[in-house]
Point group: C2
Chain length 256, copies 2
């Protein structure tokens, strides 16, 4: 089983050489720009590590993992648009709309969504793509609640905006690896914690969100409880989940 850094390097390599539908013509440039500007690649790494723990090869799970990262990139490209978050920069570089113009950036997000689906649809079963599609719709619903400030509560907002795609990182790997639905429960219990854990630690590092509502110690407590629940769920899985347990700890203690 590979370490997260090795998995991340594989993801970078595959993103850099990803084959796009030729019908995109010049639109492909902005799609590649949005994909190759860095990022932690945490969702595809979780997906690949889950797949390996479930007994599948990295190659088998790679299309699902890449699909997740394309959906994440799609969400960033559209979120950065002037009419949404109006971010001119993303990871120290011009955001996609700042570089290519707003119109091309709208289409770049659309194309990333389509290419993500194409990857998820490379499997013989539609379950992988169903999981990605439902998670994406949840994420869109969360983004709507955020920009309109109509969320019923913070937990719902983050479950949708962040949690759906993290949950799908585990769920897509299970389908890709052929884990029967009846055996997916504990795995999914693990996946359900990752979005919350990631978000709360993000807020601790940025001093916003949960830190504002629960204080620094309160937020730290929420993160630790979530990480503990994730480890407890993993302990119920009949497989070598040591790499996944390591990912939980690195999400708990990350400083960037």
């Amino acid at each position: 089983m590979r370490a997260p850094d090795d998995l991340r390097a594989l993801v970078e390599e595959r993103l850099a050489t990803l084959s796009l539908l030729p019908e995109l013509h010049g639109q492909a440039d902005s799609v590649r720009y949005a994909l190759t500007g860095g990022g932690k690649r945490v969702r595809p790494v979780i997906c690949l590590a889950t797949g390996e723990a479930a007994g599948a090869s990295v190659e088998t799970v790679m299309p699902a993992a890449l699909g997740l990262e394309l959906i994440h990139a799609f969400s960033l490209v559209h979120d950065d648009l002037p009419s949404l978050d109006n971010d001119e920069e993303r990871r120290g570089q011009p955001s996609t709309w700042a570089k290519y113009g707003e119109a091309v950036a709208v289409l770049a997000g659309d194309a990333l969504f389509g290419e993500a689906l194409r990857l998820a649809l490379s499997y013989p079963t539609p379950h992988v793509a169903r999981e990605l599609t439902d998670a994406t719709l949840g994420m869109i619903g969360g983004q709507y609640l955020d920009i309109t400030a109509t969320q019923p509560d913070m937990a719902t907002l983050h479950r949708l905006k962040t949690g759906c795609l993290f949950g799908a990182s585990v769920g897509m790997a299970l389908w890709a690896a052929g884990v029967p639905e009846a055996e997916q429960g504990p795995w999914r219990g693990f996946g359900a914690e990752l979005g919350l854990l990631f978000q709360v630690v993000d807020d601790i590092l940025d001093g916003d969100g949960y830190v504002l509502t629960d204080g620094l110690d309160g937020a730290r407590g929420i993160a630790d409880e979530s990480a503990d629940r994730a480890q407890a769920a993993l302990a119920q899985v009949t497989a070598d989940t040591s790499v996944l347990a390591g990912i939980v700890e690195s999400l708990r203690s990350r400083t960037i």
Copy 2:
């Protein structure tokens, strides 16, 4: 076999009561607005009529047909945005961004794309969703060529912008109806003409596009040749294609 007007009425009814993922929350309003403002519903009607000709029930083909219309609606919502075509009206009503604001309209298009895929993914085979995804990416490529004026030629532009989704109207019906790939050739020859036929007649009615490059008589000739090729392809299909032949003639002679 049902007449096109009956199929259109069924499509309207199903669009009006379409079930959307609850996770969309308030975003669902703009999605419904974009879907129920009228339109010819020509792509889903072609899809349903193809499915019936191939021996499938309307119910079997309906999710594919609705998926096509949702992708069409998605493309209109994003095309109408200020940064693209800047259209404040669509079919005599405020366009989605004019009604709900630009940010919600970006997300409405995204959600329509996701819901379209959810419909296409309701089949046990991934082929229906693959066909829709590839066609959507082609359409996005065509839209890019259009807004950047970088098309190699008019034929490529229209094959992507219009042709891909018309072709998929036939292709998705074939997969939904279980027509083996080896028998799809003549059906697809028919489908490949529909986008060109639709576009040239559109240009004749609007006095632009092909009328500007080929003159009114020239455009009429291109439309008639395309309709004739569509009929010739249908004649090679071993099935009752009378409804489809009628659709070709109504596309050839339409005045709205």
